[in-house]
């Protein structure tokens, strides 16, 4: 009898693992259907393209956040990184008249360097990621105020603004970038040795070290990637608004964390999937978009967002429990 159970269990395994990882997809579909019924203009090609372009910013940040959370940490500095990178762009392009691609490279280098610094502080001195990134966030935002003197710098270069508005094979560039980054991050986390080390360090750091994994290199790598992606997000953001400001990106870490949690990233570390996070990103995007279309007052939007996140995570947990 036990043998029979084992065999039938084996058949259910693949499905169970799939539901365990991607059960949140069901929530996403329910949400889309519900909004679609309430507001017919939701389910149009134009609206979907609009949402996909908008979520690309949170998407970049969420992928970096996902890595940090998977190692058992968090990166609270991403919002400030967005502001600093944006100010560097404004300063170099508008005030220094630099080539926009060179200036993008410099901006990315700055955010990557600060990500790397986060990683070194966390891994070298064994400080809590929450405390480290909470503090560097203040430093980074302060720096962006220093660079911009607290004033908005407008970016009028059409070439630069084209990063958000141009199309590649009739697909907006930010969507192409989100697509490419999703693929790269999927391969990085699920198909490379570095990805395995991220899971191992987050799952059980002692066992990882005793298996020859370098905790230092893994954590520094993770926060560096998070910084780089925050920089990419900042380029899209600045191209979209055409303005570099030191007060942008406030609260962006919340949406990123929410997308990760919705996507099944475990706060205990060691568990995450990139497709899950992508679904989380779109759930957050559709919450904003759906409420705007339906006409919910912005005062109520954040209440609804909080409730939907708790509800979705609860539903996901209940479904997983039933599957066990």
């Amino acid at each position: 009898m036990i043998e029979n159970i084992k065999i039938s269990r084996k058949n259910n395994d693949a499905l169970k693992r799939f539901m365990g990882n991607y059960g949140i997809g069901v929530v996403l579909i329910i949400m889309m259907v519900a909004i679609g019924i309430m507001e017919p203009s939701f389910a149009t090609k134009n609206n979907f393209i609009n949402v996909a372009a908008q979520v690309s910013i949170n998407g970049m940040i969420a992928y970096g956040m996902c890595l940090a959370i998977t190692t058992g940490g968090i990166d609270l500095s991403v919002g400030a990184q967005l502001a600093l990178t944006s100010c560097v762009l404004g300063q170099t392009i508008t005030n220094m008249n630099m080539n926009i691609w060179l200036s993008c490279l410099i901006a990315l280098a700055v955010s990557t360097a600060f990500g790397c610094l986060n990683g070194i502080l966390i891994a070298k001195f064994n400080m809590f990621p929450f405390v480290v990134t909470l503090s560097t966030q203040l430093v980074i935002r302060g720096l962006s105020q220093v660079i911009s003197s607290g004033k908005a710098i407008s970016l009028t270069s059409m070439e630069f603004k084209g990063i958000y508005s141009n199309k590649l094979l009739s697909i907006p560039v930010p969507i192409v970038m989100l697509f490419v980054v999703t693929i790269v991050m999927y391969l990085l986390l699920h198909w490379t040795v570095f990805g395995r080390y991220i899971f191992a360090v987050g799952g059980n750091v002692n066992a990882a070290i005793a298996s020859g994994v370098s905790e230092f290199k893994t954590k520094v790598g993770v926060y560096t990637v998070s910084g780089l992606l925050a920089g990419v997000a900042a380029i899209i953001f600045t191209a979209k608004t055409g303005s570099a400001q030191s007060n942008i990106g406030i609260g962006y870490e919340t949406d990123a964390v929410a997308a990760c949690v919705l996507g099944g990233t475990s706060f205990a570390g060691g568990i995450a999937t990139i497709p899950g996070v992508l679904m989380g990103i779109f759930i957050i995007g559709f919450i904003y978009n759906g409420m705007n279309l339906i006409g919910v007052s912005s005062y109520y939007q954040s209440i609804v967002k909080g409730c939907v996140i708790i509800g979705a995570v609860l539903l996901d947990m209940l479904m997983n429990k039933k599957n066990q």
């Binding site: 159970i5 084996k10 395994d13 395995r196 059980n204 066992a207 070290i209 005793a210 298996s211 060691g270």
Partner: protein
């Protein structure tokens, strides 16, 4: 055997319990007399812990009934069970480290003034009185975190007795105790016995069962096999009852050809050990005995790069090497199965495949992307070779039994094809069947020319598996024993113990 049920303190009758489709207990029984130390034996998964969890109310049985001291009994949870007079000392202790001994003993039944404020003084005095009864050498205001594991365990026992428990369940109480601490525990058990307290004693250690227990009940595959006075059974009988097949030799050592020196430590000194000198040869199993804390594990951790050493040299195949991290050790061919499987062995939430391949990724996966098909094939091969029992290598390590988890840990090191394999307590918390398999595997590795070092607190294990035994005493090697001396019985368990305690007798 017809008997009056009233002579028993606990009677479990026809208890059945199923989890999903798996029948964990099939109409089992258990009868415990007052003042009796009753051993519960069986392989992991035989149903012992399920039954105990039903007794203390963590699970509810599907059918069957229990009586405690002649009255029908059914606990809704551990607190209920303690109120009724049944306490369980868990294998993994979890008292609050920042509370004092007194606070722990009176946790959930504190002395209070008006039901709100703690009456610290009265509580501490009462606790001191109880501690003195057990001749426990600390004041009741000492914090739990200052005690050793053995002392914390003693506090748990004292707590149980002071809450007037008439039945105490001990789950593997000696698994992290050394010989001296075990002896002390046994004195306490005998004391409790004379006070009429019944004890259910769960252990895989045969020697202890014969030393301390009066009666033994055996379970197998969720079924009750039988209960016998310990005086009427032999080791062999017990093992046969547990595994349901004849086991010829518990520790089937196969002698292999011993080759050249693979590893040598010269004057190794570090935290907890000093001036350690030894050599291991290819095909040799070097046993390491000694008390817990005598520096055995510390030496091996330093050799593997988990801790650092202060001075001394280590040589691999005659060449001096310097190891700064486990990554260095693994790359050079030194691997170590840690004694703490949960913390240093496995990422429990990840799959067997990821766990097995983790230390082998740099060597086996040289390309940018992991060749998952190759990885799966290689991991399946090694898991199969080591008889890991799992439906698929995609399962989490968490879902396996202790013995199978240990085999997964060994699998990952075998895939690394080490020159020197260090195993620290490789069979701790592992059932009899898996234990024999692990021993057989060790012999296979040696036969392939690997040098094997095995640390074990179980003397019979060290004595039967080792070609040579080093006995640690207070951070130094206190003696060396050859297999020939053991086979000719010119050295016995007593002699090894004496060396571990400082060489009192010859």
């Amino acid at each position: 055997m017809v008997s009056n049920e009233n002579e028993y303190v606990l009677v479990c009758k026809d208890i059945s319990k199923a989890f999903g489709g798996t029948q964990a207990l099939k109409s089992v029984q258990l009868k415990i007399k007052p003042g009796e130390v009753h051993a519960l034996m069986g392989e992991n998964g035989a149903g012992k812990s399920t039954l105990m969890k039903i007794v203390i109310g963590l699970y509810k049985q599907d059918s069957g009934s229990m009586t405690f001291e002649g009255k029908p009994y059914q606990a809704k949870g551990p607190v209920d069970a303690i109120k009724a007079g049944i306490a369980m000392i868990h294998q993994e202790l979890n008292p609050e480290p920042h509370l004092s001994i007194a606070d722990n003993i009176f946790l959930k039944r504190e002395d209070t003034v008006c039901g709100i404020f703690l009456n610290k003084k009265k509580q501490n005095d009462r606790a001191n009185e109880i501690l003195r009864q057990f001749s426990f050498p600390y004041e009741s205001t000492t914090l739990i975190k200052e005690l050793t594991l053995a002392q914390v365990q003693m506090i748990e026992i004292i707590k149980a007795v002071s809450s007037d428990a008439r039945l105490i369940i001990m789950d593997e109480p000696t698994s992290s105790l050394d010989s001296e601490e075990t002896a002390h525990l046994f004195r306490v058990i005998n004391d409790l016995k004379s006070k009429g307290v019944a004890i259910i004693y769960i252990s895989h250690r045969m020697n202890e069962i014969f030393e301390i227990c009066d009666q033994v009940s055996v379970f197998r595959d969720g079924m009750y096999i039988g209960s016998k006075p310990i005086a009427d059974v032999s080791r062999h009988d017990l093992i046969e009852m547990m595994v349901g097949r004849k086991v010829e030799n518990v520790f089937p050592k196969i002698d292999c050809e011993i080759g050249d020196v693979v590893f040598e430590a010269r004057g190794l000194t570090g935290k907890g050990f000093s001036n350690i000198n030894f050599k291991v040869r290819a095909g040799e199993i070097l046993g390491i005995s000694g008390l817990v804390g005598s520096g055995r594990s510390e030496t091996m951790r330093a050799i593997f790069g988990l801790d650092s050493y202060e001075s001394g040299k280590i040589f691999l195949n005659g060449k001096e090497i310097r190891i700064k991290s486990p990554a260095d050790a693994i790359a050079k061919g030194i691997c170590m199965v840690n004694e703490d499987r949960k913390n240093f062995g496995l990422c429990l939430l990840r799959s067997l495949r990821e766990n097995i391949s983790l230390p082998n990724l740099p060597k086996h996966q040289p390309h940018l992307l992991i060749d998952q098909a190759r990885e799966k094939r290689e991991c399946e091969d090694v898991a199969k070779k080591l008889t890991v029992k799992a439906a698929s290598i995609e399962h989490t390590a968490y879902s396996l039994s202790g013995g199978n988890q240990q085999k997964v840990v060994i699998s990952k090191w075998i895939m690394a094809n080490p020159k020197l394999l260090i195993l620290d307590e490789p069979t701790r918390g592992v059932d009899v069947g898996a234990k024999a398999e692990i021993h057989a595997l060790m012999c296979q590795f040696a036969a392939k020319g690997m040098a094997v070092i095995m640390i074990s607190s179980e003397l019979p294990e060290v004595m039967s598996m080792s070609d040579r035994i080093l006995v640690y005493h207070e951070g130094r090697i206190g003696g060396e024993i050859l297999r020939s001396e053991i086979l000719s019985e010119s050295v016995t368990e007593k002699d090894i113990l004496a060396k571990a305690f400082g060489g009192v007798s010859g």
